[in-house]
């Protein structure tokens, strides 16, 4: 492996976003194949994910690694687009906490784990209105929508988002996963969601099964 790739991998393994960015830029200067760069980063983030599962790494490692990757990824992605090649991600995800709800910790974890697994994740934050989800799905060509709600008073908002997807003719294009403290399996079924899990690691399994990869 070239030195740049090795440094890129290491910067993520060491949760160093500044260095990840630096080596992403350097990789382009040095004309390294961007697909290879992505592969190196994914390898690192997978390693962190594995460590987390085994109890050798912890939540701050996971989120720190994902943050470092998120800083470098757009730089490499731009280069991939420029060269007109295709990157293999597990799938494009749009995620957010529903309107009226500002709880963010669980949703951030789910996003970090999905990125670590190899999904391309667009976290659009908290207090997200139905039309904002739709816009993000359109803009990013998302296949999976992750909805999080922590309150029984905001859980019904998920129903609205799904109804809105139907109205906009997008329901068949995206799989909808729901979760968060206020959500139960029964509720998820009732509102016609495609997937649910009570945990963030479980969310990854659900996402994989939804895209069949």
């Amino acid at each position: 492996m070239s030195e740049v790739l090795e440094e890129l991998r290491k910067s993520i393994l060491e949760y160093d976003a500044d260095r990840a960015e630096e080596y992403a830029l350097r990789s382009i200067e040095e004309k390294v194949d961007p697909l290879k760069s992505f592969e190196a980063m994914t390898k690192a983030i997978n390693e962190i994910g594995e460590g987390f599962k085994k109890g050798e790494r912890w939540l701050p490692d996971l989120v720190g690694g994902a943050d470092a990757m998120l800083r470098a990824a757009p730089i490499i992605e731009r280069e991939i687009k420029k060269r007109g090649v295709k990157r293999q991600s597990l799938g494009v995800v749009v995620a957010g906490t529903v309107f009226g709800d500002i709880h963010s910790i669980g949703k951030t974890m789910v996003c970090a784990l999905l990125s670590a697994e190899g999904f391309e994740v667009h976290d659009i934050g908290i207090n997200v209105r139905a039309d904002e989800y739709i816009r993000a799905i359109d803009e990013n060509g998302a296949e999976i929508l992750v909805l999080s709600a922590l309150m029984t008073t905001t859980a019904p908002e998920m129903h609205k988002v799904i109804a809105f997807l139907v109205e906009k003719g997008l329901r068949d294009r995206v799989k909808v996963m729901v979760g968060g403290g206020a959500i139960t399996e029964g509720f998820a079924k009732n509102i016609g969601a495609d997937g649910y899990d009570p945990t963030a690691p479980g969310a990854v399994k659900v996402a994989r099964s939804l895209v069949g990869r």
């Binding site: 109890g55 912890w58 939540l59 701050p60 009226g100 500002i102 910790i105 669980g106 974890m109 207090n127 029984t152 008073t153 019904p156 403290g181 945990t199 963030a200």
Partner: protein
């Protein structure tokens, strides 16, 4: 007036004077440099008019320290909240310590330990029980979050009505979907009575629009405020206790500044509810010792500001059952908060992480509160309690103190007797069915519910409350926030004999 407990000794101080100053200056620096996000035009205008630096584009308010100090001065150190019945008035502040019921959302099934929505009867009974418990002095938000069959948007309001009907104690009103407009009217409908309004910050360093609305609504109606945060160490604040303290104090102080701008002299108390994040699951670790320490430091700093401090950490636990872990998590937190200078402990009945509460737990907690209260009242040392004459009179063996007048006179003042603890000698325990504290709690629950009848609302008060509830139901129904089938189920309850009192 409800006396509560009195702390008779100097509170425990975890920080040195110097450390306390550092945390204070850190807080001032954060408010001046980083500031807070306030998503509310009217509030931003208020801050600007007062002399704060307001960045309207980013909704950021930065506060010079003189404005902060002035607001802290304005808030009263001690204040009264009037109850429906004068005997239940509370005077918050100073060395008084009160215990409240803890706001668990649901009840739990004692066989499966799974939370479930309580029935109207269970809700009524729980509040009636709290009215009977000697060491429950007033009520926090919820419990429960309404009852089964009530649409989401009305759960807070129906819960407030349940509390009005089943206890004469002061209660605290939470908010959702702008229900404060009805809450305020319900409270005002009962002449002379007050309630506390719950308001919050959103860590880190933010105030959402709905939250700020509640500050205005409650303060304009002259409600005293119960202000809370909910920082997660390593999640929404620095992972260190000192760093987290700076952020949570900055939020609470900003909330006090806002309150005193809206209504100078506003009665406010602030709560600490800081929990370490679990580095595997991301959930807050309820009952953690770091939360207990955070609270102690919080109490120390707010005593310095002369504003009453509330503990929330002692109410919820990580355990899902009423068990050993639940017991030690609660006892540790309540005891430490009490001896480090807190004024209110939000406590009884709470089980896992605010999600559940149970009357049996409330009965067991009432004993913890009683023990803590006994400790707070301290040791009285005088000629009477030292009893030198008596000691001389009794002398060595075969003398004893059991039948002496001094013993009869003093023992009930000196000893706290828990109501649901097993304190039998082994042979008697073996012979009487090997009962444990949960068995005793069950018996006590039955006994209290059958003997204690809380004072109901007078007919014309009841009419007013029900009138406002009817209006609220129509209002949310018209807004489209209650579906047809939900409405049907709801109405079936409202029209049943169970409503509103269940008996």
């Amino acid at each position: 007036m409800t006396r509560g407990f009195r702390r008779r000794f100097r509170p425990l101080e975890l920080l040195s004077e110097e450390q306390c100053n550092e945390v204070h200056h850190g807080m001032l620096e954060v408010l001046e440099k980083t500031g807070v996000l306030v998503d509310h035009e009217r509030a931003l205008d208020l801050f600007r008019d007062k002399g704060c630096r307001v960045d309207f584009d980013n909704k950021r308010v930065r506060m010079p320290s003189y404005i902060v100090e002035e607001a802290l001065q304005k808030a009263p150190a001690v204040f009264t909240v009037r109850a429906r019945d004068g005997k239940d008035d509370i005077v918050i502040g100073g060395d008084t310590v009160y215990f409240t019921l803890f706001p668990g959302m649901d009840t739990v099934d004692l066989d499966t330990w799974e939370p479930r929505s309580p029935t109207l009867r269970e809700h009524n009974e729980y509040i009636a029980l709290s009215d009977a418990l000697p060491n429950c002095h007033f009520l926090a938000c919820y419990p429960y979050f309404g009852y089964k069959g009530v649409p989401e948007v009305l759960k807070i309001l129906e819960g407030i009505a349940v509390k009005l009907r089943n206890t004469t104690m002061v209660q605290t009103c939470c908010y959702s979907h702008g229900c404060e407009r009805f809450t305020v009217r319900m409270v005002e409908a009962i002449e002379g009575m007050e309630a506390m309004g719950a308001t919050h910050s959103a860590p880190p360093l933010s105030f959402s629009r709905e939250m700020v609305d509640t500050y205005f609504t409650y303060l304009e109606a002259d409600f005293p405020l119960w202000i809370g945060g909910g920082p997660v160490l390593g999640g929404t604040t620095p992972v260190t206790i000192a760093g987290s303290m700076v952020v949570s104090n900055a939020e609470m102080v900003a909330a006090v500044v806002l309150s005193e701008l809206i209504r100078p002299g506003a009665r406010v108390m602030v709560h600490d509810y800081a929990l370490p994040i679990n580095m595997r699951t991301g959930s807050p670790d309820f009952g953690a010792i770091e939360a207990v320490m955070h609270q102690a430091v919080f109490n120390q700093t707010w005593r310095r500001y002369g504003i009453p401090a509330v503990s929330t950490n002692a109410g919820p636990v990580s355990s899902k059952k009423i068990d050993f872990q639940c017991g030690y998590e609660k006892a540790f937190a309540a005891f430490s908060a009490a001896i480090s200078g807190v004024n209110v402990i939000q406590f009884s009945g709470g089980l896992y992480g605010e999600l559940a509460a149970h009357p049996l737990q409330a009965i067991l907690d009432d004993d913890i509160a009683g023990m803590v209260g006994r400790y707070l009242e301290g040791v009285s040392v005088n000629a009477d309690t030292m009893a030198l004459d008596l000691i001389e009179d009794v002398g060595p063996i075969p003398g004893n103190y059991v039948g002496r007048a001094h013993t009869r006179e003093w023992w009930q003042r000196e000893f706290f007797t828990p109501k649901a603890a097993d304190r039998l000698p082994l042979p008697e325990w073996l012979k009487t069915g090997k009962k444990d504290c949960l068995d005793y709690a069950r018996e006590r629950l039955e006994e209290l519910l059958s003997t204690h009848k809380p004072k109901r609302l007078a007919d014309e008060q009841e009419e007013k409350i029900e009138g406002i509830m009817r209006e609220a139901r129509e209002y949310y129904r018209k807004k489209g926030l209650i579906g047809d089938s939900e409405w049907k189920e709801y109405m079936a309850i409202i029209e049943s004999d169970e409503y509103p009192y269940s008996r």
